[in-house]
């Protein structure tokens, strides 16, 4: 008796209670986020031939530093393309969004000013090439709460590209 009363009550409820959830868009985003997550902080040692004085390497590093992506009007230097191998638009560093440096246009100030980096930071002994490499590759090793972009762990750039950028930063300007 009791159960049948319950059952009919429940039935009554489900017949009359409204449920709008099926009428609205409420897509699942958790899988998109899961696939997009940043991996754990990764320490890496720069390759032996990393820092280069080759003007072409430095030019590539400068280009990556100063540009956002393949939509730029500027022509990339030799060895760098505006598109990836699959034809998609290449993303560059957009480092000047946060850092001022020689020749920067519209630089931001979220990160430290990198003017005269060689003189002020390297020659002074405050920093070395490996520090710069690691900072660009994965800044969390030195500063777990960094606001800086992560560039090697995310796969945005490969080792050689990080080396080109580092070569540009530590080059005399």
């Amino acid at each position: 008796m009791r159960t049948s009363l319950m059952a009919s009550l429940l039935l009554g409820c489900s017949l009359f209670a409204v449920d709008y959830s099926s009428m609205i868009e409420s897509p699942d985003a958790s899988k998109i986020i899961q696939k997009d997550l940043l991996g754990p902080a990764k320490a890496s040692t720069m390759p032996t031939d990393c820092i280069s004085t080759d003007p072409k390497a430095i030019a590539r590093g400068a280009f990556i530093f100063h540009n956002l992506n393949g939509e730029t009007k500027d022509t990339p230097p030799e060895g760098l393309s505006k598109t990836n191998s699959d034809g998609s638009e290449k993303q560059f560093g957009n480092c000047i969004a946060c850092h001022n440096i020689e020749g920067a246009k519209g630089a931001g100030n979220i990160g430290p000013d990198l003017h005269a980096y060689k003189k002020n930071f390297i020659d002074s002994g405050a920093r070395n090439d490996q520090f710069v490499y690691q900072k660009i590759a994965d800044a969390r090793i030195d500063n777990p709460n960094t606001h800086m972009t992560i560039n090697l762990t995310t796969g945005l750039f490969n080792q050689r590209e990080i080396c080109d950028i580092a070569s540009y930063i530590v080059s005399p300007k």
Binding site: D19, Y20, I24, A29, I32, G106, I150
Partner: protein, 255 residues
């Protein structure tokens, strides 16, 4: 109201002028346009369109009030508490989702959440709460607590091609710094919760807060998550709560 807005803007513009001019993307022409638009926000027309759409597809203000089980008199204060948990939906929802169910129960096909007509309707509906104070209650029930927690988690999650989170650019210690000519806004002090939907000058269109989130995700190379997802609604809860107690002023006007 408008004059207060003008004064605040004046102060903000003056402050930004004190930086070297080439630091800022907003040219003098932009500034002049901004001042003009303040007197006649182009989105006023879009809000008006939203009013017509609501009356055509959802029975107008009265139809909406009935649908939400509140009196027309209490409707503004109720809207000032969105996103909220609504038992009829069995989840925390934003105004766009309310519009969708309202349209369907009125025998219409719902606009997609990303439809500009939907943006207009949401803008009109939220404008009903103009001058009301944001009264979102993130502790109202377990569902709101969960939505807030999911929003906070989503805000703090580092992801995408550059490993950034929303917090990377919107945490207290970087607010006011400049990201490529744009000062990083304080989402609470700036009253983001009370000023979206807003007209975006640089896009010449009306945009909702969730759509604005998608813009930041895109810029930061994060995978863009869909409007109306629990994470998006959670983000809206989390960001809106930062401006709790501030007055709603729709449509907002943004760069």
């Amino acid at each position: 109201m408008k004059s207060i807005l003008k004064i605040t803007l004046g102060v903000a513009l003056f402050a930004s002028l004190s930086y070297s001019s080439e630091q800022f993307a907003m040219s003098d022409a932009d500034r002049a346009m901004y001042a003009d638009l303040l007197d006649a926000n182009p989105a006023d027309m879009m809000v008006q369109d939203g009013k017509e759409l609501l009356s055509k597809y959802g029975g107008g203000d009265a139809g909406l009030a009935k649908f939400l089980h509140v009196s027309e008199e209490k409707l503004p204060a109720f809207i000032a508490g969105f996103p909220r948990y609504l038992p009829d939906f069995k989840k925390v929802v934003g105004l766009g989702q309310v519009m969708q169910a309202l349209m369907v129960t009125n025998g219409n096909k719902a606009f997609a959440l990303k439809d500009p007509k939907m943006f207009n309707m949401v803008a009109y509906t939220k404008s009903l709460a103009n001058d009301e104070k944001i009264n979102i209650d993130v502790n109202a029930n377990q569902q709101m607590k969960d939505a807030y927690a999911l929003g906070e988690k989503t805000f703090n999650t580092q992801r995408g091609g550059r490993g950034l989170s929303c917090l990377s650019c919107h945490s207290a210690d970087v607010i006011g710094s400049v990201l490529r000519t744009q000062p990083l806004p304080d989402l609470g002090v700036n009253n983001s919760g009370g000023t979206w939907p807003a007209y975006r000058m640089t896009k010449s269109s009306l945009s909702t807060m969730q759509h604005r989130f998608q813009g930041c995700m895109n810029n930061a190379l994060q995978a863009v998550i869909p409007l109306g997802s629990a994470e998006m609604v959670g983000l809206e809860v989390y960001v809106t709560n930062k401006a709790k107690g501030k007055a709603i002023a729709i449509p907002g006007l943004k760069r």
